[in-house]
Amino acid sequence: MKESKKVVTTEGTTQFSAELIAKMEEAKNCFPEGKEKSAILKILHLAQAEFGWLSVHSMDQIAEILRVEPIEVYEVATFYTMFHLEPVGKYVFEVCRTGPCMLVGSDQLIEYIGHKLNIGIGETTKDGLFTLKTAECLGGCGYGPLLQCRHRFHEHLTPEKIDSLIEQYQRGEIKPGAL
């Protein structure tokens, strides 16, 4: 399987710790023997929570943990939109842009955040702190406009709330949500 590690980004930076591997093994145990691949999404989430994104190196390690071919991990990771396949900022703002949120001003909110952080959609601030992304329906339609960041929802957003949210993240006051 080692041949597949064509793109190892910054050697060592996405090396799994023993602790992380233990969490992944635990996730595997939720499923019957021989069906451990079912834990792949949980494991991908765990890796992403650790490093912020999924490198090929991360996915290759997951393939070894699940005892599957690397392609089986790549094909899954590329299918699901929650996974970042390239480095992102420390805090990724994923703002819902679908119908119900649009009705209550998500377009204007996305524009405001981009203006405030001086970045476009998909871009990261120079200090590496924030990435702005749009997301399709996040399932909070009655509480929009809203965004998710590190498994937390921030709802009923206004420009004022965005200002204070950005400051709180800058000061490191908002911990990541549960995983």
Binding site: C30, F31, P32, K35, K37, S38, A39, I40, L41, K42, L44, H45, L66, E72, E75, V76, F79, Y80, T81, M82, F83, R97, T98, G99, P100, M102, L103, V104, A135, E136, C137, L138, G139, G140, C141, G142, Y143, G144, Q148, H151, R152, F153, G177, A178, L179
Partner: protein
């Protein structure tokens, strides 16, 4: 009309998220009753009698679905809960799971007993990680009390319940895509048959049910199927969670008795309290983004002038010509300032983004429609584009493995059917359309 609550009855009880408060208010009594006094088939019978219909959107009778489950000897059977709530406009399951998690846990054990499943899975969308944590705590509490695990209530019934996250893919709300995803693969829907009831999770017989459907089994077993069926009208029995959003004075999740009038739901003090900021109603998508949009004159009344009710039948009255669907209960309301072309483009962009790419009509068609609609919305369209959209539509509908293709086609067809003049105005007044919205339609387009 009365306003009985079967699911959210104890919503305001402090600590109802925890097992002690839940048990104190009658929680796990249905499970105990079923395990000690009823056979699995008797539970299925009560669910059939209740008339409960799948609350995920399709409205298929739950008891009937259960009765299709194959029961070959020596092969495990599974119950899978579809908690991948991602139909735009729908946020009721999230609410239920977050507020009263044990209702789903109890429903899962109870339904698994009825189906003979020793293990069940809750597949929850990855974005709801905080809800997953709440449910995991509830599951842990249930294990600690002996409601999960071995020999529950001394009945000899063993059960394990596992919860696992998705990764952000609307398509995984389709039951066979969900099963693929649960097996650790891309969420590509399977060709049916075989149906999951015969070959589902890991090729074993499987029932996939929506969160709300499973939760509803708890009051059905408690009160009996007949009592449940006595609520509602005709084949729309029981209560339904409706998530209301868009330009409403009081958006949110409401448990309604099926049969409530749409007018009461939108304008009533106990419900949404009218359109936000005193504006006028322009349109409504009553059952999640996939169902046809209704123009204002067909929202509270049918084309025949009868009062429109919150039932599967009444919302569908008039077919796709002048009706819509109850769907998932994702009730989206548009005020007079909203642009139908922009909204249709937005929804189509959603489907283009979420198409799994397996079937060409959906993969290509949703992308084409998105481009054409974007062209119209930005004032660069032609009148022939409107017919082109209708044409693409017909070529997607019915030509795909799963219903995502239909779900993408219907909203576009309905928007053109009811708001054609607004689409045309975007072509004939391209500059004006960039500055102001079309406003309300003046003349009913459907007789």
């Amino acid at each position: 009309m009365t306003n009985r609550k079967l699911l959210l009855e104890h919503l305001d009880v402090p600590g109802i998220q925890g097992i002690d408060a839940y048990v104190k208010h009658g929680g796990y009594a249905s499970l105990k009753k079923a395990l000690q006094k009823m056979s699995p088939d008797e539970v299925v019978e009560e669910v059939k009698k209740s008339g409960l219909r799948g609350r995920g959107g399709a409205g298929f009778p739950t008891g009937l679905k259960w009765s299709f489950l194959a029961k070959p000897e020596g092969i495990p059977r599974y119950l899978v809960c579809n908690a991948d709530e991602s139909e735009p406009g729908t946020f009721k399951d999230r609410y239920l799971m977050e507020k009263i998690p044990h209702l789903l846990v109890e429903g899962m054990i109870l339904s698994s007993y009825a189906l003979g499943a020793k293990t069940s899975y809750i597949y929850i969308r990855g974005e709801f990680m905080y809800v997953l944590e709440i449910l995991q705590n509830a599951i842990n509490e249930a294990y600690a009390k002996g409601y999960l695990g071995k020999n529950i209530f001394g009945s000899g019934f063993d059960h394990d319940l596992v919860i696992t996250p998705g990764g952000g893919a609307y398509i995984c709300g389709e039951e066979t895509a969900l099963l693929e995803s649960l097996e650790g693969k891309r969420g590509n829907p399977r060709i049916k048959p075989p149906f999951p009831a015969v070959k589902g999770l890991w090729a074993s017989p499987t029932v996939v049910n929506n969160v709300e459907s499973i939760a509803a089994v708890v009051p059905i077993v408690r009160d009996g199927g007949d009592a449940y069926a006595s609520i509602g009208i005709g084949k729309s029995t029981g209560t339904k969670l409706v998530s209301a959003c868009g330009n409403l004075e009081r958006p949110g999740v409401y448990e309604i008795e099926l049969g409530l009038s749409v007018e009461e739901f939108i304008y009533g003090d106990n419900y949404c309290r009218g359109i936000a900021k005193g504006k006028k109603l322009k349109a409504c998508v009553p059952g999640g983004s996939s169902v046809p949009i209704l123009p204002h004159h067909l929202v509270t009344k049918t084309a025949a002038g009868e009062q429109r009710l919150m039932t599967y039948e009444s919302l569908a009255d008039g077919g796709f010509q002048s009706g819509s669907m109850l769907g998932s209960g994702g009730f989206i309301v548009f005020d007079e300032d909203q642009c139908i072309v922009r909204n249709t483009w937005n929804f189509t962009r959603f489907y283009a983004h979420e198409s799994c790419g397996q079937c060409s009509p959906c993969r290509e068609g949703t992308g084409w429609m998105e481009k054409v609609l974007h062209r119209l919305e930005t004032g660069k369209g032609h009148l022939r584009d409107i017919d082109l959209l209708a044409d693409i539509n017909k070529k997607i509908e019915g030509n795909t493995i799963c219903p995502l293709g239909d779900a993408a086609a219907w909203p576009v067809a309905a928007a053109i059917r009811h708001f054609r003049d607004e689409f045309e105005w975007h072509v004939t007044h391209p500059e004006e359309a960039q500055i102001r919205n079309y406003g309300l339609i003046q003349q009913p387009l459907v007789a």
